[in-house]
């Protein structure tokens, strides 16, 4: 969704007429209420947050702007493990989403035939059930002594993952693996839908042409299908990585105190500790890091026209 909607092929440029003065104002009247809403409740809050992050004081005595930039440095040195963990978990989940989501998107676009609509419904429908309820269901699935843990234990997979530090002594719940599993699950639809839209736009005759030129299916995929699906890959990874990096629901419900992500820290500083300057600084650092990662990524993948 969102970034995927590159203009469709059959775009017809609206006619440009010489408008009268009254008509020239029409677009501004159409924009006014919505843009005002975004300015007041999206842009202005950012300004307030910026000012909060350089304040000092306490809840009892009140906060004052003192241009105390030290807060940023303190926040970074105190919470850098949570920052690194957030980026690591979100990055791993995004990669897993791509690996898991690509075959399914490919299946819907090229192989599903008359089952296509049903599979699409099955991809979207879980999205309408409360995601908190579904995340809690993972507690049951990954429970100690449950079927999943038993199978992984018998296959000695848990030995390997424990050695890698992803799980701990024969349990999956309350480990990094559970958190990444939850993140991957929750953001999969955001990967599959853009991938599907861009795969669906590929002309099937290109595959035939590749086959006529003696390309094996693997070569066709590597040189034709995958490059043409790049817009979907880029918007899918962004739609997965950005929300995953700020998420704290999966880390809180499926993880332990050792798997806390930066979202949890911001939430508890704001709502429990009530240390507003630190919380605001943390939130700004997160925003800056995400914007930086996204900008570099978009530059590297050469699809700047998407944004």
């Amino acid at each position: 969704m969102s970034v995927t909607e590159a203009p469709p092929a059959r775009t017809t440029e609206p006619k440009i007429r010489k408008p009268s003065a009254r008509k020239r104002l029409v677009p501004y009247w159409l924009l006014l209420p919505g843009i005002l809403w975004l300015l007041v409740f999206f842009a202005l809050p950012m300004v307030y947050q910026a000012s909060t992050s350089v304040q000092t004081g306490s809840l009892e005595k009140g906060f004052q702007v003192t241009w105390h930039f030290q807060t940023y440095w303190d926040a970074l040195t105190d919470y850098y493990p949570q920052f690194i963990r957030s980026l690591l978990y979100a990055g791993t989940a995004t990669l897993l989403c791509l690996l898991l989501g690509y075959p399914l998107a490919y299946l819907i676009a090229f192989k599903a035939g008359r089952w296509r609509n049903l599979v699409l419904v099955l991809v979207i429908a879980p999205f309408f059930t409360s995601f908190l309820i579904r995340t809690l269901a993972w507690k049951t699935i990954l429970a100690d002594g449950g079927a999943v843990v038993d199978v992984l234990g018998t296959l000695h997979v848990l030995d390997v993952t424990s050695w890698l530090g992803w799980t701990e002594n024969n349990r999956v719940l309350a480990t990094p693996m559970a958190v990444v599993c939850g993140l991957t699950y929750n953001f999969l639809p955001f990967m599959i839908l853009p991938l599907y839209t861009s795969l669906d736009r590929i002309d099937g005759r290109l595959h035939e042409a590749a086959g006529d030129l003696y390309a094996t299916p693997a070569t066709t995929f590597r040189t034709v299908t995958f490059p043409l699906s790049m817009p979907g890959v880029v918007s899918g990874t962004l739609l997965t990585f950005i929300p995953a990096s700020g998420d704290y629901v999966n880390a809180e419900l499926l993880g332990s105190t050792d798997t806390k992500m930066v979202g949890s820290v911001i939430q508890s500083q704001f709502l429990r500790v009530l240390d507003y300057p630190t919380a605001a600084a943390l939130s700004f650092i997160l925003m800056a890091v995400v914007l930086l990662v996204v900008t570099v990524y978009i530059r590297r993948s050469g699809t700047e026209d998407l944004v």
Binding site: S2, E5, P8, T12, P14, R24, P27, L30, L31, P33, G34, I35, L38, F41, F42, P45, Y48, Q49, L100, P103, L104, L107, K111, N117, V121, L122, V123, I124, A125, P126, F127, F128, T129, S130, L132, I133, R134, T135, L136, A137, K139, I141, L188, P189, L238, I242, S245, D247, Y248, V249, G263, Q267, F270, Y276, A279, A280, S283, L286, V290, V307
Partner: protein, 268 residues
């Protein structure tokens, strides 16, 4: 080995179906455990079959109250975001004017921002204004973050519309209002409906932004969050299952109607 060859040939289909299973699995678990009768407070291990929770879905204090609150917020947020978002989408596609680039970025940014950042900054605004957190602050926040999604959905549809249809209407002496209501709106309707559906789902399901800006007001996702610590009642599984079934039914019905329209149009 014919079996291995068959697996190799159908590798994509098998991998895709595996992913689909991964996606449906939690829904299946929620459904199965809605028929459970747990021993303690936590509904995590299967005990025995029971229909108790289905007979009495509102049997837990505050559960249905939070559900109706979430529904009310979602309806108003959908209405607000759809009207404002559709207006913006039309302005962006149909008119050329200055500041289009800036406005496009302002629409894009809320979608490119981790939710927790928006949630925290909105809270600083409300704290500074001395606003009382509750229904209204949640509604304001929901309209804000749904707006961008509605704009993108409607924009995609309006972009692919043929402006000659509206010119034809004008040539046939339709006034501007008549043209809009009888021609423009019906053609844009699927995009507007998609945007509205998305807004409804996003608002109904939102936890992070609501968690920051709701004060002591409890929406359904917040109720579920709280219950994760205290012990989840089976009724939550019942409501989760019902939501899943209703969503599948609504989407399938919509597709059936669309298919029938298509085949009717083919006959004429």
């Amino acid at each position: 080995m014919p079996v291995l060859r068959w697996i190799r040939r159908n590798l994509v289909v098998l991998a895709g179906l595996l992913t689909l299973t991964y996606m449906i699995l939690p829904n299946a678990v929620v459904m199965v455990f809605s028929f459970n009768k747990p021993n303690g407070r936590f509904n995590y291990a299967w005990q025995r079959f029971s229909l108790d929770a289905w007979k009495d879905p509102c049997g837990v204090a505050d559960l249905c109250g939070s559900l109706s609150l979430s529904l009310r917020i979602a309806v108003w947020a959908t209405a607000g975001a759809t009207v404002l978002g559709t207006m913006i989408a039309f302005a962006l596609v149909r008119y050329r004017f200055r500041a289009r680039g800036a406005i496009n970025s302002l629409i894009f940014l809320p979608m490119a921002m981790p939710e927790v950042v928006m949630a925290a900054s909105l809270l600083t605004l409300f704290l500074n204004m001395g606003a009382r957190l509750g229904f209204w602050t949640v509604l304001i926040a929901h309209i804000m973050f749904c707006l961008s999604f509605v704009v993108t959905a409607v924009k995609a549809r309006v972009m692919s519309m043929d402006p000659r249809l509206e010119e034809a209407a004008r040539d046939l002496y339709a006034g501007p209002v008549q043209t809009f209501v009888r021609v423009t709106l019906p053609i844009a309707a699927p995009g507007i409906a998609a945007g509205a559906l998305l807004a409804f789902a996003l608002s109904f399901d939102d936890f992070i932004i609501t968690n920051f800006n709701a004060g002591s007001t409890v929406t359904f996702p917040m109720f579920v969050w709280g219950s994760a610590q205290r012990g989840t009642p089976v009724q939550i599984n019942v409501i989760g299952t019902a939501m899943f079934v209703i969503a599948v039914a609504v989407v399938l019905a919509g597709q059936l109607i669309a298919n029938r329209r298509k085949s009717n149009a083919g006959k004429q």
